[in-house]
Each structure stands twice: as structure tokens, then as C-alpha cells.
């Protein structure tokens, strides 16, 4: 089970998160907060013509939240907003209910499902994404 959680991809993204940093010209941004551990991230997006043209995030946290956010940014960059939101639903279904669909390489996070205490870590970045796109300032996995 532990090996399912800490797969090589996750350890790698956890250690070297992609798209980390600040976006001065962000059109959307939101903070994500996990009440369980207090982890906090800040997400910046540039949306043009309903498409996520750039995305970055700041903040430190556990390997799962960092890797999941890193993978999320890689996946949604260049996506239509509607497609990103649809992907969120699929991702959520995977880590919460175990329904694994085609997920653009996010399947490596399916193991989180067996660790209920860590599901909120895996969804933190996604909640922030949804809030940012909805024009809200903050998201929490409460």
C-alpha cells in the first residue's frame, strides 16, 4: 500500500515541483488551505479565451500535496477551463471513490484513496484551482 502512495513519480514531483513560483500577471488566483495540517498553497493562473495559458504555485507542504499540485499544473496548462473543471471531477472521483477513468497521467495518485487522512493533501491544489476559476479568493478542503 505504501508503495502505491509514494510512487517514483510522486516522490519526484514532491521533491522538484514543476511550475513553482509566482505569476505577476495572473488573471486568477486563490489560496488553498488544508485544515488537517495547516498546509497552504497559493495558485496563480493566466486565463485567455477560456484557456489556461499559464499556471504557477507557491507554498510548501507534504510530498502528496506538492506532487499533486505539481502534476495538476502540468496537466491543466493549455487546457480549456471547462475541461480542467471536468478533470477535477474525475480526479476527485478517483481519490475519493476509487473510480479510475482516463486521467492524463494523474492515475499515479490513485493510491491516495487507501489513505483517507491524505486525500485532502491530494486535492488541495485542485480545490484552489476551482476556487481561482470561480473568482473566489480562498479554498479549503474543509
Amino acid at each position: 500500500m505504501l508503495e502505491e502512495l509514494y510512487r517514483e513519480t510522486i516522490l519526484d514531483h514532491g521533491r522538484k515541483p514543476r511550475n513553482s513560483g509566482h505569476l505577476e500577471a495572473a488573471t486568477h488566483k486563490a489560496d488553498g488551505w488544508n485544515p488537517l495540517c495547516g498546509d497552504q498553497i497559493r495558485l496563480f493562473l493566466i486565463v485567455q479565451d477560456d484557456t489556461i495559458t499559464d499556471i504557477k504555485f507557491e507554498g510548501c507542504g507534504c510530498a502528496i500535496s506538492q506532487a499533486s499540485t505539481s502534476l495538476m499544473t502540468e496537466t491543466v496548462k493549455g487546457m480549456k477551463v471547462v475541461d480542467a473543471l471536468a478533470l477535477f471531477e474525475k480526479f476527485h472521483a478517483m481519490v475519493v471513490d476509487g473510480t479510475v477513468d482516463e486521467l492524463d497521467g494523474l492515475e499515479c495518485l490513485a493510491g491516495v484513496r487507501e489513505f483517507p487522512a491524505r486525500i485532502k493533501c491530494a486535492t488541495l491544489g485542485w480545490h484552489a484551482l476551482r476556487s481561482a476559476l470561480a473568482g473566489e479568493e480562498a479554498a479549503s478542503t474543509e
Binding site: W33, P35, L36, G38, P116, A117, R118, S140, E142
Partner: protein, 410 residues
């Protein structure tokens, strides 16, 4: 697990405490309005929790912490379902009914009551749904006014409407079922009239939950409150239902762990409800026990309970009134199985002592309803309250014991 003897209440065997002698006589427990007994499943659930799962919640990544968190969150869902709340987040766990009213009176009161505002409390209110409002009124400059009741305990409806129309009423505090007389208040109608003038309603459901199904959406209550220990659950736990938009707009009540988002000496921010109102380590075992009690209750046939309790109420009332010098108070139609009486031969405390020597547990006193005692012009009453685990045999012992008291004092 059917009971051995079919002369006894079908529910009795699930309550291990009832099977004992006190003062050399079989226990006849008629004090459930003060605190109900607990079915075996509630006791076993709590004991199991402490022996297998005990840990703090919302904090631990480890297995016990996770199991405790799941049990705690699940209990909230059970309470929400039992009351038919819209959202699970509308349920706040407290240490009891009294604390729940204090939470509303302090938090909502502080944010909403202004000098001149009026809070209406029925004259029959339990001190728990009156004193917190007096304290809130004192801090905010609001006034608490009584809603009169009739001799039989029922609300004086015309007076209620007049009070609503003639005062800037912001809150109405009313019980659903009276712990002293058993009166069932028309809370749905009370709410709709209050809402008509823009007032909110806090319904004290402490005595309703053990006797009947409750639907907060149907009632339309803004706040609805229950006590674990009166509803076959453990002591030290209660629940507050509050409509989500109201809870969201309320400031914190107590400060501490788990209710905060960030803490610093420069300023602290708070979580959303229900967490905002649950500071510190909760009574996880208590909450888990409360959920077990409500699930047990929901699995019983409420119609059968009602028929059983109403039979006892009717026959006990009749038999008591046949004893010369006994006067039963507050016989309103449709009331719950709670009987308050006084006699012309002895003070309620002396009666309670005689009854105790016969194994019968009743309560004598003002039942935390001093204004109601004043209204009924009695210093105290004897109260016999019947739960589903009581039966005809209990009733008969009660009647004989009251007759004995009469012999001693006359």
C-alpha cells in the same frame, strides 16, 4: 433480543440498569425527563470506542486518529439525518442542551441584539432556554419578555400574537415539549408567526427528541437543540442545529484548537461552521454514543412508542386522580408522557422520599422552571416521567406508593 417476560415493556430488556433493586425494592425509574437511561448498544459503543479507537480527531494521520475522525464525522451525519437538517454542517456538537442555548444566545445575540430589542420566552421555559437570554440581554441592552401560558400549560396564543405585533421581537425561545407538564408546543406555528415579523426562533427540543420524530425543516426552526442524556445517549454531549446562513454569519463562541484557521499575535482567523463553534478536543466518545442512541431510536417504531407511552400516561393520570387529595397539573391534549402533580397531604419532597423507599424514582422540585411554578402557584411538584421502557407494572407501583404516602401523612 426479546424480553423474557412479556408482561414487561418490550424495550425494557435493552436497558441493563433497570434490572436492580433499590431500598430492597425493584427499581421503578420514572425520572427520564431528568435523565434517560441508556440502551446496551450505547454503552457498548462507547466502551468499544475507548478500548479500540480512542484518539484525538481532525489532527492525526494515524489509524486511531483516522478511525476517531470518521466516527466523529459520521455522528454528525447521523444527527443531521435524525433532525432532517439540510446540511451536515448545520449540526454543532456541544456539551449539552444548556451549552447549545448559551452558544446561540452569546454568539448570535452579541451580533444581532441591540438596545430595545425584545426576546420572547414562554413562561414555561426551562432555565436553560431563559437564563442565557437574560445574560445576553444584559450585555446587549435587549429585554426578555414572558409569553403567558394557560392553566393547562398551553401557550396563550393571542397574547403571543399581540407580543409579536407590539414589540421589536428579534428572537423567540420556546420548548418543543415541556419537561414539567409534558405540554407539546405548536412550534411550527410559533415559527411561522415569528418569521412573519422577522424574528427568529430557538426551539429547545431536549424533551421532544426522546418522544417523537423531529423534522427541523418542517418546523422551520432557526435553531433547534437537543441533549444526549435525555435521548438515551450519554451525558456531556448535546447538539445544536442552526440554519447554515445563520451559523455562517455568527462570530465564534469559544476560542481554541480546531476552530481556527490561522493563529498569530497579529490576528487570528476562524474556520467555517460547524468547526468555528467547536473549540478544543471534542467529546468523541460522547458524540459516538449519541449517534448510537439516535440510530437505535430511529430503528424503533415511533408509532408503537407513542401508543405505549400514551396508554401509560392516560391510565397513570386517571389512577392518580382517583387518590383523594392528588391534583394532576397541566392536562393539555396531546401532551407527552410526563405527569406533574401536587397533593393536599404532603410536600412533593416528602412524597418523593416515600416513593423512593418503595423503589420508585421520581423528581420533586421546580424542575428548573421557576417561572412556571409561579404561574401555576405551586412551590414544587412531584414529576413522574415515562419512557418507552416503563410499563404498567411501573405505573402500578407508583400508584400504590402515592397511596401509601397519603396514608402516612393523613
Amino acid at each position: 433480543m426479546p424480553c423474557k417476560s412479556d408482561e414487561r415493556s418490550a424495550w425494557r430488556c435493552e436497558f441493563p440498569i433497570l434490572d436492580q433493586e433499590v431500598n430492597g425494592k425493584p427499581l421503578v425509574y420514572l425520572d427520564s425527563a431528568a435523565s434517560s437511561q441508556k440502551p446496551r448498544v450505547v454503552l457498548d459503543t462507547m466502551d468499544f470506542y475507548y478500548r479500540m479507537d480512542n484518539a484525538n480527531v481532525h489532527r492525526g494521520v494515524h489509524a486511531l486518529g483516522q478511525r476517531s475522525t470518521e466516527a466523529y464525522d459520521n455522528a454528525r451525519a447521523v444527527v443531521a439525518k435524525h433532525l432532517n437538517a439540510v446540511h451536515t454542517d448545520e449540526i454543532v456538537f456541544t456539551k449539552g442542551c444548556t451549552e447549545a442555548v448559551n452558544l446561540v444566545a452569546a454568539s448570535w445575540g452579541q451580533a444581532n441584539l441591540k438596545p430595545g430589542d425584545v426576546v420572547l420566552c414562554s413562561m414555561a421555559e426551562h432555565h436553560a432556554n431563559l437564563v442565557p437570554w437574560q445574560l445576553a440581554a444584559e450585555k446587549t441592552g435587549a429585554t426578555v419578555k414572558p409569553v403567558p401560558i394557560h392553566d393547562d400549560g398551553q401557550l396563550d396564543w393571542d397574547a403571543y400574537l399581540a407580543l409579536l405585533n407590539e414589540n421589536p421581537v428579534k428572537m423567540v425561545a420556546i420548548k418543543h415539549v415541556c419537561n414539567t407538564l409534558g405540554t407539546v408546543y405548536p412550534v411550527k406555528e410559533v415559527v411561522s408567526e415569528a418569521h412573519r415579523v422577522g424574528a427568529l426562533v430557538t426551539v429547545d427540543g431536549a424533551q421532544a427528541v426522546p418522544h417523537r420524530p423531529v423534522d427541523v425543516q418542517d418546523i422551520g426552526a432557526d435553531f433547534y437543540i437537543l441533549a444526549g442524556h435525555k435521548a438515551f445517549g450519554p451525558m456531556g454531549v448535546g447538539a445544536l442545529y442552526g440554519r447554515l446562513p445563520l451559523l455562517r454569519a455568527m462570530p465564534p463562541y469559544q476560542g481554541g484548537g480546531d476552530m481556527i484557521r490561522t493563529v498569530s499575535f497579529d490576528g487570528t482567523t476562524f474556520r467555517e461552521p460547524p468547526n468555528r463553534f467547536e473549540a478544543g478536543t471534542p467529546n468523541v466518545a460522547g458524540v459516538v454514543g449519541l449517534a448510537a442512541a439516535l440510530e437505535w431510536l430511529a430503528s424503533q417504531d415511533f408509532d408503537r412508542i407513542e401508543v405505549h407511552e400514551q396508554d401509560l400516561l392516560a391510565s397513570a393520570t386517571e389512577a392518580l386522580e382517583e387518590i383523594p387529595g392528588v391534583r394532576v397539573l397541566g392536562k393539555s391534549p396531546g401532551k407527552a408522557s410526563v405527569i406533574s402533580f401536587v397533593t393536599d397531604f404532603a410536600h412533593p419532597h416528602d412524597i418523593a422520599t416515600i416513593l423512593d423507599s418503595e423503589g420508585v424514582a421520581v423528581r420533586a422540585g421546580h424542575h428548573c422552571c421557576m417561572p412556571l411554578m409561579g404561574r401555576l402557584r405551586v412551590p414544587a411538584t412531584v414529576r413522574a416521567s415515562f419512557a418507552m421502557y416503563n410499563d404498567n407494572k411501573d405505573k402500578e407501583v407508583l400508584i400504590q406508593a402515592v397511596a401509601k404516602a397519603r396514608r402516612i401523612f393523613s
